[in-house]
Each structure stands twice: as structure tokens, then as C-alpha cells.
Symmetry: C2
Subunit: 144 residues, 2 copies
Amino acid sequence: MPHRDESVETIQQEMTAFARRARATAARMHPELSLVSYTLLAHLDDQQGCRATDLAAHYLLDKSTVSRQIAALEKLGFVERRVDPEDQRVQVLHPTEKGAQVLANVTASRRQAFHERLADWDEDDLNRFATYLRRYNAAQERLG
Amino acid sequence: MPHRDESVETIQQEMTAFARRARATAARMHPELSLVSYTLLAHLDDQQGCRATDLAAHYLLDKSTVSRQIAALEKLGFVERRVDPEDQRVQVLHPTEKGAQVLANVTASRRQAFHERLADWDEDDLNRFATYLRRYNAAQERLG
DNA sequence: AATCCACGTTGTACTATACAACTACCTCTA
DNA sequence: TAGAGGTAGTTGTATAGTACAACGTGGATT
């Protein structure tokens, strides 16, 4: 059984390796929707629409970044804006039919990739791994 | 106990969330050395020097990307090049004294951050989490 | 020697990102 | 109710990271 420090070291190394690779892998697998666009579109779908500001706050992105990402998604016809009648400043963002479709495709294909990677894991291990990841991310959010 | 699919779904979500955040977090914590530069420099340190081509192959980066990263590290005085006397085309890259110093600092501070995030984990959980991450990354390397 | 291959650099282009300045609009207060 | 101040979003500008293609130089093979 390795000492605590060794495990932490491994976790650090593996998380770093993963982070380094993730975007490129995602981009290779889904040229039509980057990791960030995917995430934003998924959030819109999940929340049944929200504001650019909410996306920025939720994902710790600058509002200008979100503005441009959304502009790109709109240009692709994946997102539409509906001005809030209550407050003319606000645009509520929604996936379009087409956007929802693409999102569904990418989600399915991502899900399949994960299933393949995890195919030979048994159910207990999967469950524990999922729990650990949630715990780790929660701690990271808490501590910055 | 969640079903297999739910665990996979959680793993996917959490890995994605982590990947999205990682670079920005690293950049905030260590403005002096990006996640990529850090990784490259650490590899040089670890391997006691290697070629740009080796870095590119190991990290799946284009050689031009590595070339520019190394150029930047050299400009900062963190890396030096030694032309291989056996083959004039080859430059063996090494961290400088200064580079090794900075690397050590960043490593220490990253390690501390991980220790903080994982402070309230018990030893068994840490060990299992480390094992799972290694296994996951190995599978990802295998399957692309 | 001629050809081919390996190593690295440079030109070019694109994406993601931040910060700052700006416009338009809302809200609150004197 | 007019002005002050705050909020939502866009645009200008700059930077980092990345890839691909074209190239130069030097080693290896035939």
C-alpha cells in the first residue's frame, strides 16, 4: 500500500496528463463542436435556456469570451437569442432544433467513447471512481 | 448503488468539467509557467534531457508547437540546447539551473495545492483514486 | 553522387481567452 | 423626474497555444 504522498503524486500526474490531452482529443473526435462550445450548448439545453452572464459565471469565463462563443454558435445555427420582454438588456439563449440535434449526436458519441474506455471496469469500480471525481471537483471548486 | 450507465455519465461529466477548468486554474496559480511549458520542462528534468522530437511524440504535439514552446523557455533562460556531436541535426534539450529552480518551485506549489484539495481524504480512498486515474488514462492512451 | 529521410524552424492561420472601453438599458434616490 | 450608478452584452486589442505546410540542413542508403 503506497503512502499518502505517493498517491497524491500519482493523482497530480494523472490529472495533469489528462488535462493536457483533453481538448485536443475532444477536438479530434468532434471537430464540429469544441469542448467549450459543447459545454455551453449542453448547459443551455439542460437549463432550458439561460443568459450569457449566467454561462460566464458558471464556467468562470469572461463575458466577452462567452459573447464570442455564442456568436459562433449562432452563426452555425445552433443557438438562438430571445430578448427578455421584462428586461431589454437580457437575451435568453436557447439551442435551436439543429443545435439540439448536433448536441445529441456529440453527446451520444462522447458517451460511447467513455463507455469504450470503461468497458472492462466492474460496476463497483465505476461507482467509486465517479464518486471520487465528484468529490475531487467539489474540493477544487471550494478551494479555487 | 447506481447503475453502470449512471456512473459512466458522472465520470464523463466530471472529467469534462475538470478538463475545461484545468488550464485556466494552472495559469492563475502559475503565471510564470503554463501547463504545457511546465509539462515539457518537467519531462526534460525527468529524462535528463531529450530531443524536441521526443517531446512532440510523447505529448502528441506538432513539432512546430514544441519548437516554439522550447524557444519561449529558452528565451526565459529555463532551457538550454546542446547540439548532439553524433548528429548535427539533433539538439538535446536540458533545463538550466534557473529552469530547474522554477520547475521545483512550481512543482512544490502544485503539490501543495493537490495536498490541500485532498487533505480530508483517507489513505485508502487516495490510493484507489490514484489507481483508477492511472487505469483510465492508460485506457485512453490505448483507445485514442 | 543522388535520393531519400529526419530534425528543426518559420510562415500562416485559427481558436480560445482576457481585459478594457463602450453602448444600451434598468433601477434607485434625491 | 432627472441624474447616478449598476448590469448585459459587444467590440477592439492583445496574447497563448496549436496545426499544417514549406523549407533548410544534415545524415543514411543505394
